[in-house]
Symmetry: C2
Subunit: 222 residues, 2 copies
DNA sequence: CGATCTTTCGAACAAGTGTTCGATGATAGA
DNA sequence: TCTATCATCGAACACTTGTTCGAAAGATCG
């Protein structure tokens, strides 16, 4: 996500954000003191406040940066793809891929969503709502195309996010299946559940072979 | 869960637990001070410590009481039921039913799982592990019976818990579908996803008609 | 060098934290 | 009524919290 030439300031800010995210993920936002952050970043306590003006803004910056990246990459991936099944598949893969490779940030995003208040909370929530709405409308289109009836797409959407976001509670990259496998589990489980198996092979869905992820091992065929 | 004659002490303890759970659910465990609890329960600050010996033990008691109830009721429901599809269906219904009717406690259970440490944490985790293992073995049996291959049942189990537990983040009983509808969504989504639609009607699964829940409205047929 | 930013820091503050302790009222059995 | 146990409380303690402020060091450039 870097690759652009960043100022010394930006580089250090990002370093602080990443380090803080790790500490927040480990101990939880409220149990982490600014002195913990100071220790982890090897900066003085007061020095931190040059980069943000409150602990809450630090949390906001982490969440905002994280959310932006996921959403931007998601839109980048989806442009040009028309088939809704493929679109959903890509979205799930993108979400989980970022999740697994940035577990601290995503844990903070998932777990500390309500540790933020006021205007900052509102800002984050606008992003979140847009992301959720994207999935809802995607499911709406799916339901329209495949004549699915009687399904609350909002509920289905949030159940899908539940599957994905809850993973910060249990997913262990060293013991569990890898990202591609996880994506396949979620995609297959959700899609065939949602569509009732009517149109899985349609839409070019074949055991995740054409994923954008580097490592691809289908766990569904064998 | 009451119905047994409780001592004055027990009654008051339960009242404190329920009230505290509400406050913890609203503000979060760490952001809630013992003075907040004191205010909500209308007891003096020091008076609270007659019922538990630390804030953390208070959290433990809430989680322990909550977990026991869910698990006990689950075992009660499952005894005598052999068909694994029906068993899973009942388990999901029980979980979500308790979830929706005790949202504060379940939010505390889901969200504050790591706010507890040491021995108390270990105790809670034993219960949790047993509950998870129950579902895993249930999926194992399902997979065996219906010849499902290549699915990591642990992953599938935790995705299922993700769907259910994440709901504390979004489920609004006044706006969303009711408990029965929610259960049906989850059951249908997960089961037909997991089984790949091979054996849904087998095992007596028909749009949730035979649920143990009082109010039953299938959203899948119409 | 000297001047002007940018970045870092030590020390301190005011507020809030969980918990303890000794004492007081309530309750019930003798 | 005396007594022993249960239940409650006010006041205080020791400690941690996020944040501020003024000064100092580093960098940049004429």
């Amino acid at each position: 996500m870097p690759s652009e030439p960043q100022s010394k300031y930006d580089q250090k800010l990002v370093h602080v954000l990443k380090t803080s995210a790790r500490v927040f993920a480990d101990k939880g936002y409220h149990s982490t003191s600014m002195r913990d952050i100071s220790r982890a970043t090897k900066m003085s306590l007061s020095g931190l406040y040059y980069y943000f003006k409150s602990k809450e803004e630090l949390l906001f910056l982490i969440q905002d940066y994280c959310f932006s990246t996921v959403i931007d990459e998601c839109h980048r991936l989806l442009t040009g793809v028309d088939d809704p099944v493929r679109r959903l598949k890509l979205l799930i893969e993108n979400h989980l891929n970022y999740f697994v490779h940035n577990m601290s940030e995503m844990k903070v995003l998932s777990h500390e969503a309500n540790s933020i208040t006021g205007d900052l909370f509102r800002k984050i929530n606008i992003r979140k709502r847009r992301y959720v709405d994207l999935v809802i409308s995607l499911l709406d289109e799916l339901a329209r195309r495949y004549q699915i009836k009687g399904v609350d797409t909002r509920v289905a959407t949030l159940l899908l996010f539940g599957m994905m976001n809850w993973s910060y509670n249990w997913y262990n990259p060293r013991k569990d299946v890898d990202v591609a496998g996880l994506s396949n589990h979620v995609t297959r489980l959700f899609l065939s559940g949602f569509l009732g198996d009517t149109a899985l092979e349609a839409g070019g869905f074949e055991a995740g072979r054409e994923s954008h992820l580097a490592r691809e091992v289908s766990i569904w065929e064998q």
